[in-house]
């Protein structure tokens, strides 16, 4: 039961309290780039959840059972980035074969996930902090769901202010960053939750 509670708490804290975009600054590029439309934000979010959870599940045994016993834990970054790149390709092929409609909606965003720092960031911080398998999984789920949540909420807000009359210099990215700042203040309010 204790393990279960710790698992749930780790998910919640990764998702809301230590939010991946607003307090740890992973994945700002897709956050700003792919949030112009709600549909694409949902697609990107789902794809990121899929890739982060899978890569955390695959990279943990690779680190613990191959890299550490072989005495080359410093090769972790290279291994992870290769695993992630292969995984993104594989996931793309898999989705293309079994669900062409999902592939169509995700298609453009899949290759972008390789360079999303959230993926490498989660896997790397899992091994840097020496988390066990369950906690790694919880971290991956919490972070990725947090990313999806934020990118969807942000794109919904963005739809509103894109049509508004903002000062000419602030049009586009600056006003998006200001919105993110306000969201970060809101999420700072959740800090005392756990």
């Amino acid at each position: 039961m204790d393990v279960f509670i710790a698992f749930v708490l780790a998910i919640v804290s990764g998702m809301l309290i230590d939010n991946v975009v607003l307090s740890r600054f992973y994945g700002i590029c897709p956050f700003l780039g792919v949030s112009k439309k709600l549909n694409s934000a949902v697609g990107m979010g789902l794809a990121v959840v899929f890739v982060i959870v899978l890569s955390a599940v695959i990279c943990w045994p690779i680190y613990t059972y191959i890299l550490v016993p072989a005495g080359v834990p410093f090769l972790d970054t290279i291994t992870y980035i290769l695993v992630i790149a292969c995984l993104v390709q594989l996931v793309g092929l898999f989705i293309k074969k079994y669900s062409p409609s999902l592939y169509k909606s995700l298609g453009v965003y899949l290759p972008l996930i390789t360079t999303n720092c959230a993926v490498l960031g989660v896997v790397q911080s899992n091994s840097d902090q020496q988390l066990d398998f369950l906690m790694s999984l919880a971290n991956a789920i919490g972070t990725s769901v947090g990313f999806m949540l934020i990118i969807i909420v942000f794109s919904a807000i963005r739809l509103r202010f894109e049509s508004n009359n903002s000062p000419k210099a602030f049009k586009g990215l600056p006003v998006a960053l200001m919105t993110a700042a306000l969201m970060a203040i809101a999420f700072m309010g959740l800090k005392g939750m756990i």
Partner: protein
């Protein structure tokens, strides 16, 4: 400054102002927001980033005829990841404070779009010297951009600029600006703590982008007015 005086010089300078990777292309935003709480952290990040960029640009430029077109991206990623690992281990050995401050963001240089972008767009098509100059320019441009964000954030957020916390080889000293502490007693403190928190990063970065947009708007308007005047003069002459 950015006029075409000389091919090589222009190539070097373009990364600093005209094609600044952070403020103009808006790439590599994650470390720009995360590692700019202090000036020292920003300088450290900028230097590590520049080292990786310069080394990978040189190596990729040397190997550009050996790497076949189908596997460019994986090959580049492996090259970049190798240099990142080297830089990471060196930092851990010689500057452990910097390693602890930057944390996972040293590893994340691998997925920094600027490094891969320069490899794909520049180093794979140009000679070694040109790639080196390009990387130096981009590295300095990125470092200066990080520095400008960190400067504003540290002054407003911490109230003073402190040195020697991360680069332990220089003596510790503080330059008080908005906050003055003497013998552990706070004399005055007008700092806004929010600016060293994530919120401040977004605000400062957004404001700088807005200022740049305002300047370029102003320049465009000026050019347009000049054009109109020239046209009006032409008509008068006719």
């Amino acid at each position: 400054m950015t006029r075409k005086k000389d091919g090589k010089l222009a190539n070097f300078l373009k990364g600093i102002v005209v094609e600044n990777p952070l403020f103009v292309s808006v790439l590599g935003t994650c470390p720009a927001l995360a590692t700019t709480t202090s000036i020292e952290g920003a300088i450290g990040m900028g230097i590590l980033f520049s080292i990786v960029l310069i080394c990978s640009n040189i190596l990729i430029s040397l190997l550009r005829k050996l790497i076949s077109e189908e596997i460019t991206t994986p090959a580049y990623i492996v090259v970049i990841a190798t240099f990142v690992t080297i830089v990471k281990m060196m930092t851990n050995a010689f500057l452990p404070e910097l390693y602890n401050t930057l944390g996972v963001f040293i590893s994340l240089i691998v997925v920094n779009c600027i490094v891969l972008g320069r490899a794909e767009a520049y180093a794979s098509k140009h000679g070694v010297l040109d790639s080196l100059l390009d990387a130096c320019g981009m590295g300095i441009g990125y470092t200066l951009a990080l520095l400008s964000i960190a400067f504003v954030r540290e002054i407003l957020g911490a109230g003073m600029i402190s040195f020697g916390n991360i680069f332990t080889f220089i003596p510790r000293f503080d330059i008080p600006i908005l906050k003055y502490v003497e013998n552990d007693v706070v004399i005055y403190d007008y700092s806004i703590n929010m600016f060293i928190q994530p919120t401040g990063a977004f605000i400062v970065f957004g404001t700088i982008l807005a200022i740049i947009a305002a300047i370029s708007n102003y320049k465009n308007n000026k050019a347009k007015v000049k054009e109109k005047l020239a046209k009006a003069k032409l008509k008068e002459a006719q």
